[in-house]
Amino acid sequence: MPIATDFEYHKPKDLPEAVSLLARYQGRAQLLAGGTDLIVWLKEGMKAPQALIDVKGVPELWHLDVKDDSLAIGARVTFTELIESDLVKSRFPVLWEASRTVASCGVRNRATLAGNLCSAVPSLDGAPALLVHEACVRTRGPVEEREIPMSEWFTGPKRTALLPDELVTAVELPLPKKKTAGCYVKLGRYRGEDLAQVGLAVLAEEGNVWKLAFCAVGPIAQRAEKIEALLNGKRLSEALIAKAKALVAQSISPITDIRASSEYRLHMAQVMLERGLKTAAARLAGKGPAYGASIL
Protein backbone atom coordinates (compact mmCIF):
# COMPACT_ATOMS: atom_id res chain seq x y z
CA MET A 1 0.00 0.00 0.00
CA PRO A 2 1.57 3.30 -1.01
CA ILE A 3 1.72 6.23 1.36
CA ALA A 4 -0.74 8.87 0.16
CA THR A 5 0.76 11.79 2.09
CA ASP A 6 3.61 13.75 0.56
CA PHE A 7 6.25 14.89 2.99
CA GLU A 8 9.78 16.16 3.02
CA TYR A 9 12.51 13.98 4.46
CA HIS A 10 15.32 15.30 6.61
CA LYS A 11 18.18 13.40 8.16
CA PRO A 12 19.94 15.75 10.58
CA LYS A 13 23.60 15.07 11.35
CA ASP A 14 23.53 16.16 14.98
CA LEU A 15 21.20 17.07 17.83
CA PRO A 16 21.16 20.87 17.34
CA GLU A 17 20.18 20.38 13.69
CA ALA A 18 17.37 17.99 14.70
CA VAL A 19 16.07 20.45 17.29
CA SER A 20 16.13 23.40 14.89
CA LEU A 21 14.31 21.34 12.21
CA LEU A 22 11.61 20.48 14.75
CA ALA A 23 11.26 24.15 15.65
CA ARG A 24 11.05 25.14 12.01
CA TYR A 25 8.03 22.89 11.35
CA GLN A 26 6.19 23.95 14.53
CA GLY A 27 4.54 20.63 15.26
CA ARG A 28 3.92 19.68 11.64
CA ALA A 29 6.93 17.39 11.45
CA GLN A 30 7.09 13.83 12.69
CA LEU A 31 10.17 12.22 14.20
CA LEU A 32 11.26 8.96 12.61
CA ALA A 33 13.44 6.37 14.34
CA GLY A 34 12.60 2.71 13.69
CA GLY A 35 9.38 3.62 11.89
CA THR A 36 7.68 0.34 12.81
CA ASP A 37 4.62 2.22 14.10
CA LEU A 38 4.96 5.44 12.10
CA ILE A 39 5.07 3.87 8.62
CA VAL A 40 1.86 1.93 9.37
CA TRP A 41 0.19 5.14 10.57
CA LEU A 42 1.33 6.98 7.43
CA LYS A 43 -0.05 4.20 5.22
CA GLU A 44 -3.36 4.28 7.05
CA GLY A 45 -3.59 8.08 6.90
CA MET A 46 -3.61 8.40 10.69
CA LYS A 47 -0.66 10.79 10.45
CA ALA A 48 -0.07 13.29 7.67
CA PRO A 49 3.05 15.28 8.57
CA GLN A 50 4.64 17.93 6.39
CA ALA A 51 8.05 16.48 7.07
CA LEU A 52 9.78 13.48 8.58
CA ILE A 53 12.88 14.05 10.65
CA ASP A 54 14.92 10.85 10.66
CA VAL A 55 16.96 10.88 13.87
CA LYS A 56 18.99 7.76 13.06
CA GLY A 57 21.92 9.91 11.92
CA VAL A 58 22.15 11.82 15.22
CA PRO A 59 25.18 10.39 17.09
CA GLU A 60 24.08 11.92 20.42
CA LEU A 61 21.26 9.35 20.48
CA TRP A 62 23.34 6.20 20.02
CA HIS A 63 24.74 5.63 23.52
CA LEU A 64 23.94 2.70 25.78
CA ASP A 65 26.04 3.04 28.91
CA VAL A 66 26.15 3.63 32.65
CA LYS A 67 26.87 7.14 33.88
CA ASP A 68 26.11 8.78 37.24
CA ASP A 69 24.53 5.64 38.72
CA SER A 70 22.05 5.34 35.82
CA LEU A 71 21.82 3.28 32.69
CA ALA A 72 21.29 5.70 29.81
CA ILE A 73 19.60 4.30 26.73
CA GLY A 74 19.89 6.64 23.75
CA ALA A 75 16.75 7.24 21.73
CA ARG A 76 18.28 5.50 18.73
CA VAL A 77 18.86 2.18 20.57
CA THR A 78 16.77 -0.69 19.22
CA PHE A 79 15.16 -3.51 21.18
CA THR A 80 17.62 -5.93 19.56
CA GLU A 81 20.51 -3.83 20.88
CA LEU A 82 18.95 -3.93 24.36
CA ILE A 83 18.58 -7.71 24.15
CA GLU A 84 22.20 -8.09 23.01
CA SER A 85 23.54 -5.85 25.78
CA ASP A 86 25.19 -7.71 28.68
CA LEU A 87 24.73 -4.55 30.74
CA VAL A 88 20.96 -4.61 30.26
CA LYS A 89 20.72 -8.35 30.84
CA SER A 90 22.77 -8.29 34.04
CA ARG A 91 21.52 -5.02 35.61
CA PHE A 92 17.97 -4.72 34.26
CA PRO A 93 16.80 -8.24 33.44
CA VAL A 94 13.12 -7.22 33.64
CA LEU A 95 13.66 -4.73 30.81
CA TRP A 96 15.66 -7.40 28.97
CA GLU A 97 12.83 -9.91 29.40
CA ALA A 98 10.23 -7.35 28.27
CA SER A 99 12.30 -6.40 25.21
CA ARG A 100 12.25 -10.01 24.06
CA THR A 101 8.45 -9.98 23.96
CA VAL A 102 8.23 -6.95 21.65
CA ALA A 103 6.79 -8.03 18.29
CA SER A 104 9.28 -10.17 16.33
CA CYS A 105 13.03 -10.22 15.63
CA GLY A 106 12.63 -8.33 12.34
CA VAL A 107 10.68 -5.57 14.08
CA ARG A 108 12.99 -5.47 17.10
CA ASN A 109 15.96 -4.96 14.76
CA ARG A 110 14.43 -1.62 13.86
CA ALA A 111 12.08 -0.52 16.68
CA THR A 112 13.48 1.62 19.48
CA LEU A 113 12.55 1.82 23.16
CA ALA A 114 12.19 5.61 22.91
CA GLY A 115 9.94 5.22 19.87
CA ASN A 116 7.82 2.74 21.78
CA LEU A 117 7.39 5.32 24.55
CA CYS A 118 6.53 8.06 22.05
CA SER A 119 3.93 5.90 20.26
CA ALA A 120 2.44 5.43 23.73
CA VAL A 121 -0.15 2.87 22.74
CA PRO A 122 -1.75 1.37 25.89
CA SER A 123 -0.27 -2.09 25.19
CA LEU A 124 3.36 -1.01 24.90
CA ASP A 125 5.70 -3.66 26.30
CA GLY A 126 8.46 -1.14 26.99
CA ALA A 127 6.61 0.77 29.67
CA PRO A 128 5.96 -1.56 32.65
CA ALA A 129 9.65 -2.38 33.15
CA LEU A 130 10.54 1.32 33.00
CA LEU A 131 7.76 2.18 35.46
CA VAL A 132 8.91 -0.33 38.09
CA HIS A 133 12.51 0.86 37.70
CA GLU A 134 11.33 4.47 38.11
CA ALA A 135 13.06 5.50 34.92
CA CYS A 136 12.92 8.97 33.44
CA VAL A 137 12.74 10.26 29.90
CA ARG A 138 15.26 12.91 28.91
CA THR A 139 14.06 15.37 26.29
CA ARG A 140 15.59 18.28 24.39
CA GLY A 141 13.74 21.29 23.05
CA PRO A 142 14.88 24.60 21.60
CA VAL A 143 15.46 26.19 25.00
CA GLU A 144 15.80 23.51 27.60
CA GLU A 145 16.52 19.93 28.44
CA ARG A 146 13.90 18.21 30.57
CA GLU A 147 13.85 15.09 32.69
CA ILE A 148 10.35 13.62 32.85
CA PRO A 149 9.64 10.82 35.34
CA MET A 150 7.99 7.77 33.75
CA SER A 151 5.06 8.26 36.15
CA GLU A 152 4.31 11.59 34.41
CA TRP A 153 5.18 10.57 30.85
CA PHE A 154 1.88 9.11 29.62
CA THR A 155 -1.00 11.58 29.51
CA GLY A 156 -3.48 9.40 27.61
CA PRO A 157 -3.63 6.73 24.90
CA LYS A 158 -1.01 7.73 22.30
CA ARG A 159 -0.41 10.94 24.26
CA THR A 160 2.71 11.88 26.19
CA ALA A 161 4.24 14.80 28.04
CA LEU A 162 6.56 15.44 25.06
CA LEU A 163 6.02 18.93 23.58
CA PRO A 164 5.76 19.34 19.79
CA ASP A 165 9.16 21.03 19.58
CA GLU A 166 10.93 18.44 21.74
CA LEU A 167 12.53 15.11 21.04
CA VAL A 168 13.49 12.28 23.35
CA THR A 169 17.23 11.97 23.70
CA ALA A 170 17.44 9.09 26.17
CA VAL A 171 15.69 6.91 28.71
CA GLU A 172 17.53 6.64 32.01
CA LEU A 173 17.13 3.91 34.62
CA PRO A 174 18.69 4.37 38.06
CA LEU A 175 20.88 1.40 39.01
CA PRO A 176 19.11 -0.54 41.79
CA LYS A 177 20.75 0.14 45.15
CA LYS A 178 19.55 -3.09 46.69
CA LYS A 179 19.36 -6.61 45.38
CA THR A 180 16.37 -6.90 43.05
CA ALA A 181 14.72 -9.47 40.83
CA GLY A 182 11.54 -9.49 38.83
CA CYS A 183 9.78 -10.48 35.67
CA TYR A 184 7.76 -9.24 32.74
CA VAL A 185 4.72 -11.37 32.01
CA LYS A 186 2.94 -10.87 28.69
CA LEU A 187 -0.30 -12.39 27.56
CA GLY A 188 -0.81 -12.44 23.80
CA ARG A 189 -2.91 -14.52 21.46
CA TYR A 190 0.20 -16.09 19.97
CA ARG A 191 3.95 -15.55 20.13
CA GLY A 192 5.40 -13.06 17.71
CA GLU A 193 4.01 -9.81 16.43
CA ASP A 194 0.97 -9.65 18.67
CA LEU A 195 0.16 -6.81 21.00
CA ALA A 196 -0.25 -7.56 24.69
CA GLN A 197 -3.70 -8.38 26.00
CA VAL A 198 -2.23 -7.89 29.45
CA GLY A 199 1.34 -7.00 30.39
CA LEU A 200 2.74 -6.96 33.92
CA ALA A 201 6.16 -6.07 35.27
CA VAL A 202 7.04 -7.12 38.81
CA LEU A 203 10.12 -5.93 40.67
CA ALA A 204 10.93 -7.41 44.06
CA GLU A 205 13.51 -5.64 46.19
CA GLU A 206 15.29 -7.13 49.16
CA GLY A 207 13.36 -6.33 52.33
CA ASN A 208 9.90 -7.08 50.90
CA VAL A 209 9.56 -4.01 48.71
CA TRP A 210 7.40 -4.55 45.64
CA LYS A 211 6.86 -2.54 42.49
CA LEU A 212 4.22 -3.52 39.95
CA ALA A 213 3.11 -1.99 36.66
CA PHE A 214 0.48 -3.08 34.15
CA CYS A 215 0.02 -2.27 30.46
CA ALA A 216 -2.84 -2.98 28.03
CA VAL A 217 -5.46 -2.91 30.82
CA GLY A 218 -6.13 0.81 30.95
CA PRO A 219 -5.71 3.95 28.85
CA ILE A 220 -2.07 4.21 29.89
CA ALA A 221 0.50 1.89 31.42
CA GLN A 222 0.81 2.55 35.13
CA ARG A 223 1.91 1.31 38.53
CA ALA A 224 -0.51 -0.69 40.70
CA GLU A 225 0.03 1.36 43.84
CA LYS A 226 -2.79 -0.14 45.92
CA ILE A 227 -1.37 -3.63 45.46
CA GLU A 228 2.16 -2.40 46.18
CA ALA A 229 0.95 -0.78 49.44
CA LEU A 230 -0.65 -4.04 50.51
CA LEU A 231 2.48 -6.10 49.76
CA ASN A 232 5.20 -3.79 51.03
CA GLY A 233 6.85 -4.88 54.25
CA LYS A 234 5.13 -8.26 54.30
CA ARG A 235 6.44 -11.71 53.54
CA LEU A 236 4.84 -13.23 50.48
CA SER A 237 2.31 -15.95 51.39
CA GLU A 238 -0.65 -17.63 49.72
CA ALA A 239 -3.01 -15.55 51.88
CA LEU A 240 -1.26 -12.31 50.94
CA ILE A 241 -1.32 -13.23 47.24
CA ALA A 242 -5.07 -13.87 47.48
CA LYS A 243 -5.56 -10.42 49.02
CA ALA A 244 -3.40 -8.87 46.29
CA LYS A 245 -5.44 -10.59 43.57
CA ALA A 246 -8.62 -9.18 45.09
CA LEU A 247 -7.21 -5.67 44.56
CA VAL A 248 -6.55 -6.15 40.84
CA ALA A 249 -10.06 -5.08 39.82
CA GLN A 250 -9.50 -1.74 41.59
CA SER A 251 -6.08 -1.27 40.00
CA ILE A 252 -6.84 -1.71 36.29
CA SER A 253 -9.62 -0.75 33.88
CA PRO A 254 -9.48 -3.18 30.96
CA ILE A 255 -11.69 -2.73 27.91
CA THR A 256 -13.13 -5.23 25.47
CA ASP A 257 -11.60 -5.03 22.02
CA ILE A 258 -10.63 -7.25 19.10
CA ARG A 259 -7.90 -8.96 21.13
CA ALA A 260 -9.74 -9.85 24.34
CA SER A 261 -12.79 -9.14 26.47
CA SER A 262 -12.48 -7.03 29.58
CA GLU A 263 -13.55 -9.99 31.75
CA TYR A 264 -10.80 -12.20 30.29
CA ARG A 265 -8.21 -9.47 30.76
CA LEU A 266 -9.23 -8.99 34.40
CA HIS A 267 -9.15 -12.71 35.12
CA MET A 268 -5.77 -13.16 33.46
CA ALA A 269 -4.32 -10.11 35.18
CA GLN A 270 -5.05 -11.89 38.48
CA VAL A 271 -3.47 -15.13 37.30
CA MET A 272 -0.46 -13.23 36.00
CA LEU A 273 -0.10 -11.30 39.25
CA GLU A 274 0.10 -14.53 41.24
CA ARG A 275 2.64 -16.10 38.90
CA GLY A 276 4.57 -12.86 38.58
CA LEU A 277 4.89 -12.41 42.33
CA LYS A 278 5.97 -16.01 42.84
CA THR A 279 8.46 -15.86 39.97
CA ALA A 280 9.98 -12.58 41.19
CA ALA A 281 10.27 -13.93 44.75
CA ALA A 282 11.87 -17.14 43.50
CA ARG A 283 14.33 -15.25 41.32
CA LEU A 284 15.22 -12.94 44.21
CA ALA A 285 16.02 -16.06 46.23
CA GLY A 286 18.28 -17.27 43.42
CA LYS A 287 15.80 -19.86 42.23
CA GLY A 288 12.97 -19.71 39.73
CA PRO A 289 12.99 -19.95 35.95
CA ALA A 290 15.71 -18.25 33.91
CA TYR A 291 14.91 -14.81 32.55
CA GLY A 292 13.18 -15.14 29.21
CA ALA A 293 11.35 -18.38 30.09
CA SER A 294 7.58 -18.14 29.72
CA ILE A 295 5.63 -18.49 32.96
CA LEU A 296 2.21 -18.45 31.29
Binding site: D6, F7, I39, C105, G106, V107, N109
Partner: protein, 153 residues
Protein backbone atom coordinates in the same frame (compact mmCIF):
# COMPACT_ATOMS: atom_id res chain seq x y z
CA UNK B 1 7.33 15.79 -4.49
CA UNK B 2 10.93 16.05 -5.48
CA UNK B 3 12.74 12.90 -6.45
CA UNK B 4 15.94 12.03 -4.69
CA UNK B 5 18.59 9.78 -6.12
CA UNK B 6 19.65 7.14 -3.62
CA UNK B 7 22.46 4.65 -3.86
CA UNK B 8 22.50 1.24 -2.29
CA UNK B 9 24.41 -1.99 -2.49
CA UNK B 10 21.83 -4.57 -3.48
CA UNK B 11 22.92 -8.19 -3.45
CA UNK B 12 26.53 -7.14 -3.93
CA UNK B 13 25.92 -4.65 -6.75
CA UNK B 14 25.92 -0.86 -6.45
CA UNK B 15 22.55 0.41 -7.63
CA UNK B 16 21.20 3.92 -8.00
CA UNK B 17 17.49 4.71 -8.12
CA UNK B 18 15.28 7.79 -7.98
CA UNK B 19 12.76 7.75 -5.16
CA UNK B 20 10.25 10.07 -3.57
CA UNK B 21 10.34 10.51 0.20
CA UNK B 22 7.13 8.50 0.65
CA UNK B 23 8.23 5.51 -1.46
CA UNK B 24 8.36 2.35 0.65
CA UNK B 25 11.39 0.10 0.32
CA UNK B 26 9.47 -3.08 -0.61
CA UNK B 27 7.80 -1.31 -3.55
CA UNK B 28 11.08 0.15 -4.79
CA UNK B 29 12.81 -3.24 -4.52
CA UNK B 30 10.08 -5.04 -6.43
CA UNK B 31 8.93 -2.42 -8.94
CA UNK B 32 12.01 -0.32 -9.63
CA UNK B 33 14.91 -2.63 -8.89
CA UNK B 34 13.34 -5.87 -10.11
CA UNK B 35 13.96 -7.96 -6.99
CA UNK B 36 10.87 -10.11 -6.62
CA UNK B 37 11.63 -12.47 -3.72
CA UNK B 38 10.38 -10.13 -0.97
CA UNK B 39 6.59 -10.26 -1.05
CA UNK B 40 3.87 -7.86 -0.01
CA UNK B 41 1.70 -9.75 2.47
CA UNK B 42 0.07 -7.78 5.25
CA UNK B 43 1.98 -4.59 4.35
CA UNK B 44 2.07 -3.56 8.02
CA UNK B 45 4.93 -5.52 9.54
CA UNK B 46 2.94 -8.46 10.88
CA UNK B 47 3.62 -11.30 8.44
CA UNK B 48 7.32 -11.19 7.56
CA UNK B 49 6.98 -11.96 3.83
CA UNK B 50 8.77 -8.69 2.93
CA UNK B 51 11.85 -9.53 5.07
CA UNK B 52 15.21 -8.34 3.71
CA UNK B 53 18.63 -7.86 5.26
CA UNK B 54 19.41 -4.17 5.80
CA UNK B 55 23.01 -3.62 6.90
CA UNK B 56 23.20 -7.20 8.15
CA UNK B 57 19.90 -7.31 10.08
CA UNK B 58 16.54 -8.54 8.90
CA UNK B 59 13.93 -5.81 8.66
CA UNK B 60 10.37 -5.48 7.45
CA UNK B 61 10.88 -3.73 4.09
CA UNK B 62 7.21 -2.67 4.14
CA UNK B 63 8.04 -0.53 7.21
CA UNK B 64 11.16 1.13 5.79
CA UNK B 65 11.15 4.13 3.50
CA UNK B 66 13.37 3.64 0.46
CA UNK B 67 15.09 6.95 1.21
CA UNK B 68 16.15 5.59 4.62
CA UNK B 69 18.14 2.91 2.80
CA UNK B 70 20.36 5.46 1.02
CA UNK B 71 23.95 4.29 1.43
CA UNK B 72 22.90 0.96 2.96
CA UNK B 73 23.52 -2.64 2.00
CA UNK B 74 20.51 -4.78 1.20
CA UNK B 75 20.57 -8.53 0.74
CA UNK B 76 17.54 -10.51 -0.36
CA UNK B 77 17.01 -14.20 -1.04
CA UNK B 78 18.50 -13.66 -4.51
CA UNK B 79 21.68 -12.45 -2.79
CA UNK B 80 22.16 -15.27 -0.33
CA UNK B 81 21.64 -17.95 -2.98
CA UNK B 82 23.70 -16.38 -5.75
CA UNK B 83 25.94 -19.46 -5.88
CA UNK B 84 23.09 -21.94 -5.62
CA UNK B 85 20.87 -22.92 -2.68
CA UNK B 86 22.46 -22.66 0.75
CA UNK B 87 22.69 -25.59 3.16
CA UNK B 88 19.68 -24.17 4.94
CA UNK B 89 17.66 -23.89 1.72
CA UNK B 90 18.55 -27.48 0.78
CA UNK B 91 17.30 -28.57 4.17
CA UNK B 92 14.01 -26.76 3.54
CA UNK B 93 13.71 -28.73 0.26
CA UNK B 94 14.58 -32.02 1.95
CA UNK B 95 11.85 -31.46 4.55
CA UNK B 96 9.21 -30.27 2.05
CA UNK B 97 8.98 -27.21 4.25
CA UNK B 98 6.89 -25.13 1.92
CA UNK B 99 3.63 -25.59 0.07
CA UNK B 100 2.56 -22.34 -1.59
CA UNK B 101 5.97 -20.80 -0.96
CA UNK B 102 4.77 -17.26 -0.32
CA UNK B 103 6.40 -17.10 3.11
CA UNK B 104 9.54 -18.90 1.94
CA UNK B 105 11.85 -15.95 1.13
CA UNK B 106 11.13 -14.24 4.43
CA UNK B 107 11.31 -17.49 6.38
CA UNK B 108 14.67 -18.41 4.84
CA UNK B 109 16.10 -14.97 5.66
CA UNK B 110 14.80 -15.07 9.24
CA UNK B 111 16.37 -18.50 9.72
CA UNK B 112 19.59 -17.35 8.03
CA UNK B 113 19.89 -14.47 10.50
CA UNK B 114 19.28 -16.82 13.42
CA UNK B 115 22.02 -19.22 12.33
CA UNK B 116 24.47 -16.37 11.71
CA UNK B 117 24.12 -15.26 15.32
CA UNK B 118 23.48 -18.63 16.89
CA UNK B 119 24.73 -21.64 14.88
CA UNK B 120 23.17 -24.22 17.24
CA UNK B 121 19.83 -22.86 18.43
CA UNK B 122 17.42 -24.63 20.75
CA UNK B 123 13.98 -25.41 19.39
CA UNK B 124 12.49 -22.50 21.39
CA UNK B 125 15.06 -20.15 19.88
CA UNK B 126 14.07 -21.29 16.39
CA UNK B 127 10.42 -20.70 17.24
CA UNK B 128 11.25 -17.22 18.53
CA UNK B 129 13.30 -16.37 15.44
CA UNK B 130 10.50 -17.22 13.02
CA UNK B 131 7.63 -16.06 15.25
CA UNK B 132 7.16 -12.97 13.09
CA UNK B 133 7.01 -14.94 9.84
CA UNK B 134 3.56 -16.32 9.18
CA UNK B 135 3.00 -19.51 7.19
CA UNK B 136 -0.60 -20.47 6.46
CA UNK B 137 0.16 -23.86 4.85
CA UNK B 138 2.53 -26.02 6.83
CA UNK B 139 1.77 -25.62 10.51
CA UNK B 140 5.47 -24.72 10.94
CA UNK B 141 6.68 -28.19 11.98
CA UNK B 142 8.53 -29.00 8.72
CA UNK B 143 10.08 -25.53 8.78
CA UNK B 144 11.38 -25.91 12.32
CA UNK B 145 12.65 -29.41 11.55
CA UNK B 146 14.48 -28.14 8.46
CA UNK B 147 16.25 -25.47 10.50
CA UNK B 148 17.14 -27.97 13.24
CA UNK B 149 18.47 -30.39 10.64
CA UNK B 150 20.54 -27.74 8.85
CA UNK B 151 22.38 -27.06 12.13
CA UNK B 152 23.39 -30.69 12.48
CA UNK B 153 25.01 -30.91 9.05
Amino acid sequence: MTKTSIQLKLNGMQRRVDVEPNDVLIDVLRDKLGVKSPKVGCDRGDCGTCTVFLNGRTVRSCLVLAIEADGCEIVTLEGISKDGPTKLQKSFVDHSSFQCGFCAPGMVLAATELLQNNPHPQREEIQEAIAGNLCRCTGYSPIIEAIEDACKK
